[in-house]
Amino acid sequence: HLYNNRYAGDKVIRLTPKTEKEAYALKKIYHQLKVDLWQPSSIVHVSEGTVTDVHIPQNSSQALLAFFQEANIKYKILIEDLQKTLENGRSLQTQRNRR
């Protein structure tokens, strides 16, 4: 597996805070968990209406998703399993070359 399978089970989720209160909650949790923010490039840009895409590791995804549900913050899973997406994105030739 690529990258020693370190991204297995990791997800990328999209959240768009509808209020400043939601935005604040997201910023707080992003900061606490030091998430890998795909967009925007910085937590400071997160505000009401900002589309945020965040990469969450497998070991914290359950807790995070539970938090979002409890806070009634709607989210969408963009990538269900980062490792699978990473590996599926390689063309047949690249896979052959690796083998």
Binding site: Y3, L37, S41, V44, L78, L82, R90, S91
Partner: protein, 309 residues
């Protein structure tokens, strides 16, 4: 040779540099490779100067890709651009005109250390790989390290943040090397294009403030025509506009610096997609992404050549 190198897969840094060396040997009438210096970890910063050699004065366009390490579609496009230029020089009148009248300075991988690290360790690494003596975190955001409202809004003073601006402007040897080159050649360089991902946008200054640039009219019309041309290929929509309004405010960016330092037409592309794959754009989408972007870039440069002062 051109047909043997696969432009529809992502290549490691070593493969890209080997490809550059090869083109330098086999296409010497149109390509000249040189190095601007070395990265933090000692890697060469290779540039391809593309265009028909001429003693006469020629304007130039600077194109860089891979400022942020994880945005792999950028370097893929830079390679595609060079390939297309070489392949169509004799058959496409527009390309012939561009390469006869201008030079293109192409930097396929700006952030060589970060790119290598994203291949070998952390696919989602963004910054450079410089060390910080006081913190355990490494790297500076190479698009926040330029001396234009440095470390103001949209950049971070914290070394562990992904938008860390660095200890001082141009602290990163990669940024310093490119800045020195652009300063030295600013008389000739008329356009600056930087390729990032992902958002499907074509951006122009300013990033660091909400204000209209003096030559807005020509820049805006170039951008409009470029996204229209891009959309004509596969129907993909790109938004366009000043970076501060279209994306977000960020200070210390290369595009703003290039503009401030006398390069009148500065753009940043945010290539595909808008989040379905994000940084993991599959290799099978390299071709459509690059063909549409190629048309946009040709459009911009032709527009600048013909219509803009």
């Amino acid at each position: 040779s051109l047909p043997e190198y696969n432009y529809e897969v992502y290549h490691s840094l070593e493969e890209i540099q080997s490809w550059m060396h090869h083109l330098n040997k086999t296409h010497s009438s149109l390509i000249h490779m040189f190095s601007l210096g070395r990265s933090y970890e000692g890697r060469s910063l290779f540039i391809l100067k593309l265009g028909r050699r001429s003693q006469a004065y020629k304007r130039a366009v600077w194109i860089d890709c891979g400022v942020h390490a994880r945005e792999w579609i950028g370097p893929a496009f830079c390679q595609w651009f060079v390939r297309e230029a070489l392949l169509t020089y004799r058959t496409d009148p527009a390309m012939k005109k561009l390469l006869n009248h201008m030079y293109f300075y192409i930097m396929p991988v700006f952030n060589v250390d970060g790119y290598h690290f994203s291949w070998t360790h952390d696919r989602f690494w963004r910054k450079t790989r410089s060390r910080n003596s006081k913190f355990h975190c490494r790297g500076v955001d190479a698009n926040r390290n330029w001396k234009v409202k440095w470390c103001d809004e949209g950049a971070s003073i914290h070394p562990c943040d992904d938008t860390y601006c660095g200890p001082f402007p141009e602290s990163e040897p990669e940024v310093k090397a490119v800045a020195n080159f652009l300063r030295k050649h600013r008389k000739y360089i008329k356009a600056y294009l930087s390729f990032h991902a992902y958002a499907q946008m074509l951006l122009y200054p300013y990033s660091y403030k909400y204000a209209t640039i003096p030559n807005f009219s020509c820049v805006e019309s170039a951008a409009y025509k470029a996204v229209k041309a891009l959309r004509s290929v596969h129907g993909i929509r790109y938004r366009y506009g000043p970076a501060s309004r279209t994306l977000y405010v960020s200070s210390g960016s290369s595009m703003d610096w290039a503009y401030k330092n006398g390069i009148p037409y500065a753009f940043a592309f945010e290539l595909r997609d808008t989040g379905h794959f994000g940084f993991l754009l599959p290799e099978m989408l390299i071709r459509p992404t690059c063909t549409e972007t190629m048309l946009a870039v040709k459009n911009i440069t032709m527009h600048l050549l013909k219509k803009c002062p």
